[in-house]
Structures are given as C-alpha cells and as structure tokens.
Point group: C2
Chain length 313, copies 2
C-alpha cells in the first residue's frame, strides 16, 4: 500500500554528540577518537560530525558545571538574549542550537545521536521522543536486527510532563543512546564497544537510506514512559530507603503489584502498589537522585512502523 510509505529528505547532515554529561565516558572517548580520525564514521553519502557538547564538564569529569545541559534546550533558554551572566550550560545550549539547529527549523541537522551512559543495568537503549517518527523507528528496527542476538531496547519518552528539553532535540530526528551499566568516570571496554557498534549500524542505515533503499513496514517493541518513582524521603529530603535487592539491576523486567520495591534502613520492605504490571528502567541511576527519581515505570507496546524511502526529488 503506497499510501503507507513515508518519504523523507536524505539525511545528509548527521552529528554524534558525546559529553552532554561530562562523566559519561563512552561517548566522550568515542567522540574524542572520531574527532582525531573519522575514518570509522565516514560514509560516502553522509556528512558526520562528532561533537563534544560540554567540554568544561568533561574537563572536570562532572555531569555539568551549573545546570544539566540535557534539560537546557527549552524555548525560553534558546531565545533568551543574555550573555556571560547566564549559567554555562545555557550559553552552551544557545551555541549548540546555533551550530546544529535552530531547533524546529529547516536548517537543523537531520539526525543527532547523543551518546550517554547510565549506572543502571539497562544494556543498550535508544531513547526516542516520538512514536510517529518513522525514520527513527526504521533505523532502530534495522539496528536491533543487526545487533541480534545482543538486545537493544527502546525507551519512548513522549510523556507530556516527563519529556525534557534534550541536547539532541535541536535535530529533525533526535536519537538518544544510553549504554550501561557503567559507573560515572569509568570507561569499560564492553560498553564502549557496544556503543561503537550501534553507531556503526546507524550510519550504515542512513547511508543505505540516502542511496535509495526502501525499508518495508515493520513492528518495533518500545517501552513507553509512564511514571517517575522517587525514593521514600524524610521531611529534609533525605532518602529513607534503598532500591530493594529484588529490584536492583532488574531493568526491563516486569514489576507487579506487591513486588518488593524499596528496603528501608531498618530492614522493612516497601512493595509496589500500582494497579498493574509495569516495566521499570533507569533503576538506581546515580544522576537521578537529585532529580528525585529512583526509577521510571514504562508500559510495553508494539508500534506499527510505516515503510520509508527518500524523497525522489
């Protein structure tokens, strides 16, 4: 049915972002490596630009200097006229928007891959922001097939309240990539090589797409963000419990009503009391204590993805 074919312009301008968070080492090392020698990411029909997003945070091996860059790409920040008095990451967001955007404009980059690590046991995970971006969904489908039997999950963050203003959001097609578990400030070879392989497959896909290959309709399993769950806290905001050992490291496994969720310091178990089964992820991510999130719950669903090809003119 040709009515189901989505046509997109060629994706000529692609950026690979590392160091959006300055202590997530895989993307930092890959971008640094590819900046010196881009032979691995060169394709004949794609211009690929590796880019270090938060060099000052990378220098300090900290997530950020003043504020989280990956929450800074709001319309308000990007349009504010301010200068040196702005938080460092707001200034940096404006610069990145100038180079790779402007966000939402025809001049914006076609695709941005933003490379992240997590301390959670999430494996390799794409974070997508739209269930109707068939280009991204086809790309993810292609990569999942290419990576098999290694698995690659898709976290779909379309939630009106929980969606945030990401660095990659300046592109027409925004792709977040989380690979874990890896502690902040540590470079593990297995995590590094997984991320490297995923980027390779992604660029291969774009090259094929640009060369005119049509990708047939398919289905992609995604985990849709549902709810943020915080640690129990006292009146001063200090946490009063830990992720329960039965939940720790069990990202993507079903959490059912009555299942252990937290363990208090005096040994009591707090169970999950939702209405039905959910799939938790980002369980016990270091950076999310300050964001009041012990994990996020998701629902599993399967998206029907249209076939895609490039515009013929």
């Amino acid at each position: 049915m040709s009515s189901d074919v989505c046509c997109f312009a060629e994706a000529r301008r692609v950026a690979i972002f590392g160091g959006t968070h300055g202590n997530e080492m895989s993307g930092i090392m890959l971008v640094s490596m590819w900046t010196k020698n881009d032979s691995e990411i060169r394709r004949s029909r794609v211009h690929t630009k590796p880019f270090m997003c938060n060099p000052r945070a990378v220098e300090k091996c900290a997530r950020y200097i003043d504020t989280d860059l990956n929450r800074a790409f709001t319309a308000e920040n990007l349009s504010t006229p301010g200068g040196d008095e702005l938080p460092y990451e707001v200034r940096r967001a404006k610069e990145i928007n100038q180079i790779f955007g402007p966000k939402g404009s025809p001049d914006a980059y076609d695709v941005i891959f933003d490379l992240h690590n997590t301390t959670s046991n999430m494996g390799s995970t794409f974070i997508l922001e739209s269930s109707t971006d068939h280009f991204n969904l086809q790309m993810v489908h292609y990569i999942k097939k290419s990576m098999a039997p290694e698995s690659c999950m898709v976290l779909l963050n379309e939630h009106p309240q929980l969606k945030y203003a990401t660095t990659r959001s300046v592109a027409k097609h925004a792709v977040g990539l989380e690979v874990g578990p890896q502690p902040q400030g540590v470079l593990r070879s297995n995590i590094f090589e997984s991320m490297r392989m995923i980027v390779k497959h992604a660029l291969d896909f774009i090259e094929m797409f640009n060369s005119g290959v049509e990708f047939p309709a398919c289905r992609v399993q995604v985990f849709r963000v549902h709810e943020r769950v915080d640690y129990p806290r006292d009146t001063n905001g200090n946490i009063g419990a830990m992720v329960h050992p039965h939940l720790q490291d069990c990202d993507w496994e079903p959490l059912n009503p009555g299942d252990p969720m937290f363990q208090t310091f005096d040994g009591r178990t707090i169970v999950y009391e939702g209405a039905g089964s959910v799939y938790p992820t980002f369980i016990n991510e270091a950076a999310y204590y300050e964001k009041h999130q012990a994990f996020v719950t998701t629902f599993r669903e399967t998206l029907a993805v249209n076939s895609i090809r490039k515009n013929t003119k």
Copy 2:
C-alpha cells in the same frame, strides 16, 4: 609462649568515618544513620563516634572540593599554621586531627574505621598500613571468620612510595574499609548491608577485647601492594587504551606474564610483562584515572599474627 603475646591498652575510643570521599554512599548513609540513632553501634565497653569527614563534598556528591582529603594528612599539612586561605580539605584535615588525634600522640583515638566504596570489583576489603599491628590483624582475622563464607580481603599498603597520608592515619589503629563494586553517587543495598555487617563484627571484637578475652596466635592472608600500573597515555596525558575485558572485574585473580592487560581503541591487546604472577586490585577505579593508576599489583602472603590481650593494668 607468653613472649608472643602482645598487650594493648583497651580500645575505648573508636570512630567510624564516612564521607572522606563525598560520593561514596555506603559510609555516608551509615554514618548519617548512626548519627541520628547509635543503638546499632553502641557497646558497653566502647565509646563509638560516627563522623562525617567531608560534609561539603558530601553536599556536592563529589570526591572532594579542593584536594583529596584522604591524601591530606601529611605532617606538613597538619603542622601548617595557615587559615582560610588553605584548601578546604587541608583545613578539614587539621580539624579532624584536632578532634581525633593529634596523629602519633597518646591522645589520639584508639581505632578509626574509614568507610569507602570503590567502582572496582573488590568485594569487601580491609586496607591496613602495617604488617606488625597485631591488634588490627587479630580484628581482621575475627571479622573474616565471622563473615565466612562471604569473603573479606586484606590489602596491605606498607609500600614506602605508594603509602599515602590517610584520614584514618590519625588513630593508633587505622582501618580502611573498601566495599564494591558500587558506582559513585549510588547506594546499593547489598554493598550497604555488607559494610554494616563488617562494622558490627569489628565493634563486637573490640568489645570482647576490652572485656579481657585473649585472642590466640593466628595467620592472616594479605595482599601486599607492589606496584601502580597506569593506563597507556599519549603525550597530552589522554588514555590510549582501556582495561582489557579479560582483566576487568578480575580483582584478586592472578595476572601472569603474557596475560591481556589493556585493549587499545584500535583493538590491539597490551599484555602484562612483569617478571612473575601478581594479584591486581583496584582495577578500573573511577577516582584513580586522575591518579594515573589503572590498577595496583600485589603479592599474596600470609602473616603470622601474635596472640593479643589487653594490658592488665
């Protein structure tokens, strides 16, 4: 043979240090918990003081503010007359030395336990600074027996160049405790509970010792610090290789000449070329990139420990 019995004064004043590094969460949470309610660490013959060493770093969830507190207890720092212009941790070292020392004096605390986490797969590890402190060695022997079948290793850092001026070094008996693997900024319940249990056994030992129990001669297996091994680096100081997947997470397992040690970014393997087998540990610890240490090698040996009892008058 009574000539082999070492006599020590009762260990009445004991401190438990957390937050020497502000992003090592188990000790921070335990000290914070015990400061509010000390019933768990109370013993009739021991006065136990929980203490947060670097509250500003804890607040920021960073290892340190200006300089590593756990390297700051040098004679020079502790005797410097300076004030507010000194690095925060040097000022803090002087304060801690006033409260729990002075280091090397009869007024110093009897025992300090300093609670640390590591991103390395070291399990529970004591760090001792002397092979002739029979009090500490007897305590470790008691705890190892009490923890079995869970293992508890002993890293002996008596190396003249690699020994460093630790926070705990102000006490007569200095005991470092590392438990891992745990990412910086993360609290894992399994690591928390292991640390808590070790402190419990340690205080039980001191209580028994103070009550007059004699502990017979024994043997303790330790791993003696031999050499620091850095990542391969380029002329700018950037790392040029990662810990090899065959070495990653293999703390305490023998590394033999010819065994893989590092993997370069272009896939080459760098092997260990030492003269004989060593036991690496602190493999890929996040905080040691800046200290130019990918791991430390050790030799395994068994120490003969004298029997101990308290002074009878």
